[in-house]
Symmetry: C2
Subunit: 383 residues, 2 copies
């Protein structure tokens, strides 16, 4: 490779931007200053988030805000990678960032000073049999063992993701340098806006309450959310989920990804009895599963994603470019002959029926909220 | 059988009561006077009608109006019999009425003086190969042959049903005496209320237009429809249908009852492109199929009724009693040891998961409109 081809040094970010806010701008700036990168490449969840919820704005709107505020290239994290527990989410994101040839990945963590790689070593000593308790989530049981071995408690969501990035990077022998950084201002779980940096979750709450978000989000986000009466949520999708759970034969429910260990009976029973999604999710909740896990299974069900479809999808990763700046375009030019995975810009009938099938279907579901076509013939945003 | 057991003579009616109106009262009175019957037994479509549409009121509301206005016993025509083309609808209805031991069946026809049994004889001489035109509906092609042989044109909906009753009665050797009678006032297709007898379709239109229906319907119907802003229609169910058509694999669509001859591709394509049901049904329409046929396939699809489920259902008929008067109860007592099919009054978990599965699921779908539970633990109406 010539020196010219290598001229742009990119830093990678794993993002949801749900929605894009000032904390993200801080993160982008810090990522560049720490790594001395020339370009910022963000892998971003599409229309559904890691927690299994519809995003507050569609992927194009969120990509637009990111490109206007420091990101140079936005690539979609496909729904089969995005709507997953932390370890698979992180695994998918690093897989794409590695193929996108980023040198560094910068991410927030509640405890950035921890040596997360030590936790990966510690995990190898875990006793697998103790994960079979049915009255505690996997994460809880995992953490009990980690505390014993390292003295550290891995319970904060960004710490868990940080650990997962280290694990994916080590196990796959990627050459990526990882940089955990501290988070500014509000914590992930904060539900209200207090300072000038708010959590995405607090901003979503504020939008639902028709509160002002101009102090904490850039103008593009504010504009996109102007006039939004009610942010996309599961209540609107519930009739679709409910109908599937009632009408489809049990044998079909049992083929749904992660609809295991009798969940199909709980889901069907709850669907038959509950007229609201709030009632439904409360009905299916047990100590064994987190709400996020249960929400993700709702999405797999309403999209009828089977074990087979999920397995096939992971075998065919791709890079769906949602948008780029001039710098991002130069970077794409630099890497385009080196990437292993198909680099998709415009989605035609072929991709829609093969590679991108699941994202296309997720987009059709998301259309329920916005009536806006998500994929077919949608060109990347050029900023 | 003793004389006492035989004391009540019942006349059977095949009904939809969508909604129950004054024309139905006339029909009931005429049926009794022609046959000198002591009791009126109505087999009635449940929550979805023969045309594949959600009924304007649920089956319990419609049964209530019927029981208050001359009907003594209302038995549900199961969804797999009701949502069918005329010949299967008539076949199912007569099958139940025969098991219910009615002596006579009275029904309206546009041409009650025709000898419908002659048409059944004529049909046997039809040349089957001429039914393979793809640019005309089956009914049109059928009629072209009938005109040639008999000089009569079987195009009016109640004439077609009348023919179907004769055919079912003859072919199954039922001992039922059939009585076609003239229809009063408005015709089936009339869309506005003009006299004191209006068609059900005109009344539905009037309800949607918030017009007064007190002149043409009894108080129970008027009361049930008071405050109804918009009558149940396919638009509300469209997101469910659309999601199924997009998310389910084609192999699954192909298993849906009557989703044949490439309809699965048309349906999927239309679902992907159309955001409204009006747009969808227009998109799938061809000369080959009537709107009714296409609407029925919509219901089969949204309920995921497969060929296998349909076939199984027809092998297990049952008599689901929706309500009765004192006279109706006496009649039930008279026949209960003679009926061949299971006589269901209250639906428990067993029936819901076996026999009545499809009606139960249709009820859950109909719950989208009303939020009212339709079957489980619902006792018959006693008037």
């Amino acid at each position: 490779m010539s020196e010219i081809e290598e001229k742009i040094h990119a830093v990678g970010l794993v993002t949801e931007y749900n929605p894009f806010h000032d904390g993200h701008i801080y993160h982008i700036k810090r990522a560049k200053s720490i790594t001395h990168a020339d370009a910022v490449v963000a892998v971003m969840s599409g229309n559904f988030t890691q927690r299994g919820e519809p995003a507050i704005l569609d992927k194009w709107q969120r990509a637009q805000a990111a490109l206007e505020n420091g990101v140079d290239l936005v690539v979609e994290l496909p729904v089969f990678m995005a709507v997953q527990p932390a370890h698979r989410f992180a695994d998918g994101a690093l897989q794409l960032l590695n193929d996108l040839k980023v040198k560094d990945v910068v991410f927030g963590a509640e405890h950035p000073s921890w040596k997360f790689s030590d936790f990966v070593t510690a995990e190898k000593q875990f006793n697998e049999t103790t994960f079979e308790k049915y009255n505690a989530t996997y994460a809880t049981q995992f953490n009990q063992q980690l505390v014993k071995l390292t003295g550290h408690s891995l319970v904060d969501p960004n710490d868990i993701l940080a650990f997962s990035y280290y694990k994916a990077n080590l196990e796959n022998h990627y050459p990526i340098i990882l940089h955990p950084i501290g988070r500014l201002g509000s914590q992930y779980h904060d539900q209200s806006i207090t300072g000038t940096i708010a959590s995405a979750s607090a901003i979503r709450q504020a939008v639902n309450n028709h509160e002002d978000i101009r102090k904490v989000a850039p103008s593009r986000t504010v504009e996109s959310l102007t006039g939004v009466e009610r942010i996309p949520d599961w209540e609107l999708l519930y009739p679709l989920l409910r109908n599937f759970l009632i009408q489809a034969p049990l044998s079909r429910l049992q083929q749904i990804y992660q609809m295991a260990e009798g969940l199909e009976y709980r889901y069907r029973e709850a669907a038959e009895q509950e007229l609201t999604f709030a009632g439904f999710i409360h009905h299916v909740k047990t100590k064994r599963y987190t709400y996020s896990r249960l929400l993700r299974v709702c999405l797999y069900a309403v999209m009828e994603i089977t074990n087979g479809q999920m397995e096939l999808a992971w075998k065919q990763p791709y890079l769906h470019v949602l948008g780029f700046t001039e710098r991002g375009q130069e970077y794409l030019h630099q890497i385009k002959k080196k990437v292993q995975y198909p680099l998709l810009t415009k989605i035609g009938q072929d991709e829609r029926e093969s590679l991108i099938d699941l994202d296309y279907r997720a987009g059709k579901l998301y259309q329920m909220f916005t009536q806006v076509e998500q994929d077919v013939k949608h060109a990347p945003i050029i900023k």
